[in-house]
């Protein structure tokens, strides 16, 4: 019962933000944003607590204040030209969302089966990084600044953001779950974010396509078990994929509300893991490229990109400022070894070739690339340009990640073995999203007036 209360309270925190979208007539986006806004409302007071008197002991009150503050932020994001909105195609929607409900139920039941009464199978990193934070946050009266400065823990990645531990600590404190029982919370978290992704796309894509995109992360081998191992990478995939797909679809359809929703999801990605900042950069680049490919002027495309990036940049800056105030050792980018780029290129290339050479990955990514080209429509050059715009975000993410790997302060081989598959979990779903948005982009061009199409 207390777990249900914790879940309901988390989702209730998203309601003020959802109400803003609801009032603009975007009910599907309002509902879809509930878990995202609720998670941000829980995370921001923790991240900013050193600036707010230090206490984190009054979570519900502080989170409620943050939730109310998110509503005007969403309102500000929605300012500007009204979005181009079409009526949702509801045919088949009930069946597609019934499938998603079954997936969500399966995730909750799996979490329930793995929790208290059995061995949860938490991964060592998941246990020692994310669950440690969850436990510290659940028990502490204030953010433990001493831990951030403790020289025995300089490599403890205390600069990692707090969205996942904040959610788990919420379930521990309000829901009464102990450390070993948090698999149930992990199941509930995934069960809320996955259908939200599809719901947000209901006006942009047919229901089965939106549902396919929401299910796609779970088709990535190892992702679900890694999620239940209490790693943050799978959750990052869910929120970053929502951010990319929503902002990309919004940029193509010149739908301000969808871009704003994508921006809030990307802020969640930034608050989940350092790689979230890379997804923010990638999705913003993709949104600008897609807005241009859909016929927007350069100024309009840049404005779309700015709207897409703004909440994530604010979250990133706020957390970095907090880390600086607490004196946390900054593992990135202060310790990056750019002098080793050339020497390590061969090693990274071999690792990537081995990773992408596995038949299942090669087939999936190849199929997505071919589908993107096939579905983008138009002549050869137009088709290539559209495919490039659609695939810009995954390409920027892969490029940025490769650069970080090349400059890692750790031994590269160890870093690749321990993290490469996890950090690339989101690549195939993002490429699938690019392919599935191809017809939307092709349609956007074909509906432009002739005068607009003839512009250089």
């Amino acid at each position: 019962m207390s777990v249900a209360l914790a879940c309901a309270a988390w989702l209730a925190l998203g309601l003020p933000c959802a109400a803003v979208f609801w009032r603009r007539g975007r009910r599907e986006l309002g509902v879809a944003l509930v878990p995202f806004a609720g998670a941000l409302a829980l995370t921001l007071p923790l991240a900013l607590s050193p600036w707010l008197g230090g206490s984190i002991s009054h979570w519900p009150l502080r989170a409620a204040i943050a939730a109310l503050a998110l509503a005007p932020c969403a309102q500000a994001l929605l300012r500007g030209a009204p979005g181009r909105v079409e009526t949702a195609d509801t045919r088949g929607g009930a069946l597609a969302f019934a499938l998603l409900a079954a997936v969500s139920l399966g995730l909750v039941l799996a979490g329930r089966a793995l929790d208290a009464e059995g061995w949860p199978g938490y991964g060592w990193d998941g246990l020692s990084i994310w669950l440690v934070r969850a436990k510290v946050l659940a028990r502490s009266a204030e953010l433990p600044a001493a831990l951030f400065r403790e020289r025995q823990l300089v490599q403890g990645h205390w600069d990692y953001p707090l969205l996942l531990p904040a959610l788990l600590a919420w379930f521990a404190r309000v829901g009464g779950l102990e450390l070993r029982e948090l698999a149930l919370a992990l199941g509930i978290v995934a069960a809320c974010f996955a259908p939200a992704l599809a719901l947000g796309l209901r006006r942009a894509l047919p229901a089965p396509i939106a549902a396919a995109l929401a299910v796609a992360p779970f088709a990535v081998p190892g992702l679900v078990v890694t999620h239940f191992g209490a790693y943050a990478d799978p959750l990052l995939v869910l929120v970053a994929l929502a951010g990319f797909a929503w902002s990309a679809a919004g940029a193509i359809r010149q739908d301000t509300a969808l871009v704003a929703a994508g921006a809030l999801a990307l802020a969640c990605a930034v608050a989940t893991k350092n790689e979230g900042a890379l997804w923010l950069l990638a999705a913003t680049t993709g949104a600008i490229a897609l807005a241009r490919a859909a016929g927007s002027s350069l100024a309009s495309a840049l404005a779309t990109g700015a709207r897409c990036a703004l909440p994530g940049v604010v979250v990133f800056a706020a957390w970095r400022a907090t880390c600086a105030r607490l004196g946390v050792a900054d593992t990135l980018p202060a310790e990056l070894r750019f002098d080793l780029l050339g020497a390590r290129a061969g090693e990274l290339f071999a690792a990537l070739r081995s990773f992408f050479g596995e038949p299942q990955r090669a087939i999936a990514l190849g199929a997505c690339a071919v589908a993107t080209l096939a579905l983008a429509g138009g002549g050869l050059r137009t088709r290539a340009a559209r495919a490039a715009a659609l695939l810009a975000a995954p390409a920027v993410y892969l490029g940025g990640l490769s650069l970080v790997y090349l400059a890692t302060p750790h031994e590269l081989a160890w870093h690749l073995v321990t993290s490469l598959p996890r950090t690339l979990f989101g690549l195939a779903p993002a490429c699938l999203a690019a392919a599935l948005l191809g017809p939307t982009l092709a349609h956007a061009r074909s509906t432009e007036p002739d005068s607009a199409r003839s512009l250089p």
Partner: protein
């Protein structure tokens, strides 16, 4: 008539895609279903976080150290958790979770470290499997 037919074929393609991805997801989550099956046998074995810490994949034989700290050291007593670089530090962070009442601090009188460790005059208090709990000698105390 033609647009309707095209729309129908698009709809069929969308459902086929969803079915294919759902089937792939079912296949890819076989490891989770296996994990749920494998843990079914131990269901009921872990009734508290204390049982959880004592389980072999977590602390195993190191649990003696945890028990001693919880029983014998007053809350607030600083403990130093030492290791040999990044790999050991993961364990240090885990001890941090286990000992929320005891601040982790370098140079503390009490230290948990991987055996063999410690200096002359340090007292061995508890022996775990890989780690030991030592009391630092007064001469060595910084």
């Amino acid at each position: 008539m033609q647009p309707l037919e095209r729309r129908g074929s698009h709809e069929i393609a969308a459902w086929l895609l969803l079915a294919a991805i759902a089937a792939l997801a079912w296949r890819s989550t076989g490891d989770l279903r296996a994990l749920v099956r494998d843990t079914a046998a131990t269901r009921g074995a872990l009734r508290s976080d204390a049982d959880f810490y004592a389980a072999p994949p977590v602390l195993g034989d190191e649990i003696a150290i945890l028990r001693h700290v919880e029983r014998e050291l007053a809350p607030g007593t600083p403990i130093s958790v030492e290791g040999r670089g990044a790999y050991e530090e993961r364990r240090q962070r885990f001890w941090l979770a286990l000992l929320p009442e005891h601040p982790i601090a370098a140079g503390a009188d009490w230290r948990i470290c991987p055996a063999p460790c410690g200096g002359p005059g340090d007292t061995l208090v508890v022996q775990g499997r890989e780690f030991v709990l030592l009391r630092r000698s007064t001469a060595e105390t910084p």
